[in-house]
Symmetry: C2
Subunit: 107 residues, 2 copies
């Protein structure tokens, strides 16, 4: 990591999008499962609709996820990782590796 | 990432310690500067003492930082990364690389 202005540091900028546990757990689902609908995420993560909606909006506005409407009648849509989202794979893998090596597995 | 139980996933466990922006920005200071005192962190990060204190306690309880008293009169202490904390380097580097490549530098 180069030492430089804290106010415009790439880590700060990255964590503006993915600096909370819900965002990371939501992204995990896309890396594990591919395209996901709102309901899929809610079922697996047990997250409130408001929280999930807010996180998805932020990830979409950051260009990390894209919403794709795959049916118009009834209206149905799913979210997918963009190229920018898929580029987070090294972050997710590094978290996974550290969690595996350095936090206790439950019995 | 292997697909497995969400309730005991290494990413979930990792983000229980470092799944918030302040914790990541605090860790960044240790990777950039080495040992840090409470006041050093407060000066650079412009974070409230309560928030900083809470995050440091959690990082310490997680074995990521260790507190070292380097003077008894007056009492003065600093925090350092443990081996477990230093093992977060790949996470920090991955965040840095992604932030550099995929978020806009300010003018």
């Amino acid at each position: 990591m180069a030492k430089r202005s804290r106010d415009n540091c790439p880590i700060l900028r990255a964590t503006n999008f993915i600096g909370d546990q819900w965002s990371i757990l939501i992204l995990r689902e896309f890396f594990l499962e591919g395209a996901r609908r709102f309901q899929d995420l809610q079922d697996v993560l047990n997250v409130s609709p408001n929280t999930l909606s807010g996180r998805l909006k932020r990830l979409e506005s950051g260009g990390i996820l894209v919403r794709h409407q795959y049916s118009t009648n009834p209206p149905r849509s799913e979210y997918r990782l963009t190229d920018k989202g898929r580029a987070l794979a090294p972050v997710m893998n590094a978290l996974h590796d550290w969690g595996t090596a350095h936090t206790d597995d439950l019995p």
